[in-house]
């Protein structure tokens, strides 16, 4: 019984990475289709995600699923090995809360200091650190947010897990440090060294270069936040 699984994504997108990590963790074979999000959207992308016109899109037996957190829940419900959501409804609710918190509050807050105007930076840094502090507390000394193994929240938080430190390296702006957030910092090492994660991260040098390109585009006003 052939199952057609396709992912439309962008190599440097933390949202695409969510879908990729979940599928790889569960050993699900899939075809990957690269979309150039900085250029024209492909007709297929527009067909499968007409409303948001964004990656990632998961195509399963011809049916599209969009929105990265919705995709993660779908993947977990279809492929039952290596669950990324906890079993008990309460623990599930906690995981969903943290994943949503990450998307609603952390992503915008942690990303902002790198591109905002100079006079807004101090406040942006403060808000970013507030989020990181909350994440540090949420981690509660565990190895991963998911416990002994990575779960929904770790996968959702991959921007802090991997991308953030590459942005820090390129800009010299340090939000997350071992001194300020020891557990969270350690978590980023555990995350990028995880056997499945490390095989599927964007190549570091390529990411660093891409960061420079993106920052330049923001500064030139070519892209908005």
């Amino acid at each position: 019984m052939g199952e057609e699984v396709k992912v439309f994504g962008f190599w440097s997108s933390p949202y695409t990475l969510r879908a990729v990590l979940a599928l790889r963790l569960k050993g699900v074979p899939y075809e990957y289709v690269e979309e150039n999000v900085l250029g024209n959207k492909s007709p297929l992308l527009l067909k499968y995600n007409p409303i948001h016109k964004k990656v990632p899109v998961l195509l399963h037996n011809g049916k599209p699923i969009v929105e990265s957190l919705v995709i993660l829940e779908y993947i977990d419900e279809i492929w039952k090995s290596k669950p990324i959501l906890p079993k008990h409804p309460y623990d599930k609710a906690m995981a969903r809360f943290w994943a949503k918190f990450f998307d609603d509050k952390c992503m915008p807050a942690v990303w902002k200091p790198f591109w905002c105007p100079e006079d807004e930076r101090e406040k942006a840094v403060e808000e970013a650190c507030q989020c990181l502090k909350t994440l540090e507390t949420a981690l509660n000394g565990k190895r991963f947010f998911g416990g002994e193994e990575i779960g929904l929240v770790d996968i959702a938080a991959n921007f802090v897990g991997f991308f953030l430190r590459t942005m820090q390296e390129v800009t010299g702006l340090e939000l997350l440090s071992a001194e300020k957030f020891p557990h969270l910092f350690k978590w980023t090492d555990e995350f990028v060294n995880h056997s499945v994660v490390k095989e599927n991260l964007p190549p570091r040098d390529k990411q660093l270069e891409f960061n420079r390109v993106i920052i330049a585009k923001y500064e030139a006003g070519e892209i908005k936040a």
């Binding site: 919705v70 829940e73 309460y90």
Partner: protein, 237 residues
């Protein structure tokens, strides 16, 4: 019904406030499944108690609704609704099929991002042009939802009974009507959103008018909006 909190032998408490659309979602989910719960109003008239309760039960976001079940808090309205659905399996609010669940979650998120949050935001805006622009976007989003409802061909997104998407879409009933009136903006139009028009009637009937009274919302939103206008420096008006 709100009672002694004996959710079939378990302690269920809902911390909320009468006007909140997010809190009301949880009420409907509980009532749909016949779960007994204790209602705790965290009124602004008792700020100390409200503050303390929120700090204890929702330290991260400090807001209602909070569902407390067996002493443990669950927060964020749609997270709570899914929790309720998984804990009490009768009268499901989400479909059983994984693909249909993904579709429901997608639409619930769409409604919240493009309609619910925009409507709430409108109340804080003081610039009329900005308000009209945001209202226009919300109206367009409602058109998309109207088309989806048409394609579905059922009474509700949940079929014959309300589901996750309907619960999110509830904002277009008393709340949206009150906001439109207070701000003198138009989002809903029965000609542009014909199926939503019918859906509203069906929804209100289904939840047996368990909604904050419109005149109460009008008063509350009017006061709220006035306070926003008053806080804008005169030279910027």
């Amino acid at each position: 019904m709100a009672g002694h909190g004996n959710g079939n032998g378990e302690e269920v408490k809902l911390l909320g406030i009468w006007f909140s659309p997010y809190v009301r979602r949880v009420v409907w989910a509980l009532e749909l499944k016949g779960i007994d719960y204790e209602w705790v109003e965290l009124s602004f008239r008792d700020p100390k108690n409200r503050s303390r309760s929120l700090l204890e039960h929702n330290p991260v976001l400090k807001r209602v609704p909070v569902l407390v079940h067996r002493g443990r808090p669950v927060v964020e309205s749609l997270v709570i609704v899914e929790y309720i659905d998984e804990t009490w399996r009768n009268n499901p609010v989400l479909p059983l099929d994984p693909y249909e669940r993904a579709v429901a979650r997608f639409w619930a998120n769409f409604v919240d991002q493009k309609i619910t949050e925009v409507l709430i935001k409108l109340l804080s805006l003081t610039d009329k042009t900005q308000m009209e622009e945001e209202a226009k976007q919300a109206s367009k989003a409602l058109e998309i939802v109207d088309r989806e409802l048409k394609a579905k061909g059922k009474k509700f997104f949940g079929g014959e009974t309300i589901g996750l998407v309907d619960i999110a879409l509830s904002i277009v009933t008393n709340w949206m009507e009150a906001i439109e009136e207070v701000l003198d903006v138009r989002i809903f139009d029965s000609r542009t959103h014909p199926l939503i028009a019918q859906w509203k009637t069906n929804f209100v009937e289904f939840v047996r008018h368990n909604l904050p009274p419109k005149d109460g919302l009008l008063r509350f939103y009017r006061r709220y909006h006035q306070s926003k206008i008053a806080s804008v420096a005169p030279s910027r008006l």
